[in-house]
Symmetry: C3
Subunit: 247 residues, 3 copies
């Protein structure tokens, strides 16, 4: 069984973080939280979303798994505005999700979870550097890199205690440097990796500009990017595989 | 002869109600009102617009009929902003419409009225139910229905004193229920009909969100939707033929 | 050598005036001003931009010439917002332009100036009429003309002391008349010429609505349109060749 009431914006922000990577996903309706893990078809970008029971006005679940088309679910939830409450209820018999809000009742057919790409394991990585910055700063660096290239280099300069978002195009370059004053926090370490901008741009779409974003970075290693949602009662973690740097 | 002065927004709102259905129309320049009746090429949706002489700053006409290209006329009127006054004058000799506003004089070639599809007769129908609601509510129901289907069912539940805007898609359903508290007025009666969403969406584009909209509904019968324009000195009536409900 | 600091909006507005006509241009880095002259590929529209050293926070140059891709340069400058300062520095060795702003360093490859279309000579013309008007008025006239035709007639009526922006389409006409009250100033003279709307629309995109725009007009002669930028410390002049009026 699953029955929950949640503000439309909380649910929408959470779903957005997943729908930038995949069209369909499994949603785990655990007793104490709703969670989604998904990986894009090319196995390059992963997302791990958890939304605590406390993020909901009310939440009852017993560990089921449902499969959903995210665009459809977001359309339905999008009929509610801002803080309007949305009620979700699983009809076990018909395998449909009932979505109710002020006057409007919708029924969304679910997808067989077995038909959805398997959930990825998001590994624990021991990454040397950790950067904490505003979503708006990450956004600026990604936009700058996107002007000259289709990949971006994230790098920590341990000596200068600075984080660099860099891109080298065929003719033009950009280097966005954030030092201790620009960052919320920095644990400097040897860290320098190259990533596809397409994925990072997709992830960036979902990251609120005002969010406090933590970037964990290594040397030619995947990057982990995480931030809180639902006023701290939920969490989004992205992991993105590196591209090999040519010399 | 025809010569009139009217605020740009009044004229634009009135023309919008027609241009969502047809590209060209006849305009009847009656002594006491300007009126347009038109039907779409498939004979499914009709509109009847009347704009009283009182809706104009000044109005002189003697019963002529002109044919216009609505997009062009709206472009010309659109050069004026908001409450700016627009002067319309028919040049009988050249069969052109002179359109004047602050500094700008335009001449719009008219279309031979005989070349325009005949004006429909909009029948008096004795429809069992009458629903009065805000344009914004109708808009919400239509948007919800559009997520799952290309047709929509309008239905009055006489027992519950409620109006339903419903749609059944191949896999998903929506039901937008408006009860006595949500409606401005309801005359309940047996009423349940299915309509093409394409037409209803077009009509909805022209209906102001703040308008008080009256919906007259029957059992597998056309629906009539009407609302006031020009602060009550004009009226728009849409009529839309039903689709046959399959069982 | 070239090194300058300037507010992003000042630089962007100046570059916009050129990029509406051409994709690439030469920039002359004179000791006392930065200047650009360019002509479109069809030799119909020309622009002459000058930006005094005083328009910059700081400015050092010794007469060099660089070639730039305007879209790229505008992208880079566009990363700064509003009054944020942008630093430009020419790297003589690599022939690249370094662009720096709060945290962000970009390097833009320059184009060989010899590969760019030659700068036009913008002739002194003795034009009979001079009209000074708000950018917003010019914009309105151009928008109106664009509804009915692809060329526009600019005309001064010396008797009525009025400036006309007119267009005759196949079926419809517009005439936007600005008299002494609507204009900032008018030196009436025999002036009546026809121009391509495509070019005038492009130029109009760059002209601020609030700018005081001077139009110099003759009889089947090119028109000159100029306005100040950088709070009077710069100037843009457009020249547009006439189309021959058919009778």
């Amino acid at each position: 069984m699953f029955k929950a009431i949640v503000s439309a914006s909380t649910l929408q922000d959470a779903l957005d973080s997943v729908s930038v990577l995949v069209d369909e996903c499994k949603i785990r309706l655990n007793e104490d939280e709703l969670s989604i893990r998904a990986v894009d078809p090319a196995n390059v970008g992963m997302v791990d979303l958890s939304l605590d029971a406390a993020a909901f006005e009310s939440y009852e679940a017993d560990g089921g798994v449902i499969g959903v088309n995210l665009a459809k679910l977001e359309d339905f939830v999008g009929m509610a505005s801002g803080d309007e409450l949305v009620e979700l209820e699983l009809d076990e018999e018909t395998r449909k999700l009932n979505i109710r809000m002020d006057g409007l009742s919708s029924t969304l057919a679910l997808i067989d979870p077995d038909s959805i790409r398997q959930e990825p394991d998001i590994p624990d990585l021991d990454l040397a550097a950790e950067i904490v910055l505003e979503g708006a700063q990450l956004d600026r660096g990604i936009k700058a890199a996107d002007m000259v290239s289709d990949h971006v280099r994230l790098r920590v300069d341990a000596d200068d205690e600075a984080f660099h978002i860099q891109a080298e195009g065929d003719t033009d370059d950009v280097d966005f440097e954030l030092d201790a004053d620009d960052l919320i926090a920095l644990t400097a370490g040897t860290a320098d990796s190259l990533f596809s901008l397409d994925y990072l741009k997709d992830m960036n779409k979902a990251i609120p500009k005002a969010a406090e974003v933590t970037v964990e970075l290594g040397e030619e290693f995947p990057v982990k990017i995480h931030y809180a949602v639902a006023e701290g009662q939920g969490n989004v973690t992205y992991m993105l595989a590196p591209r090999i740097q040519s010399d």
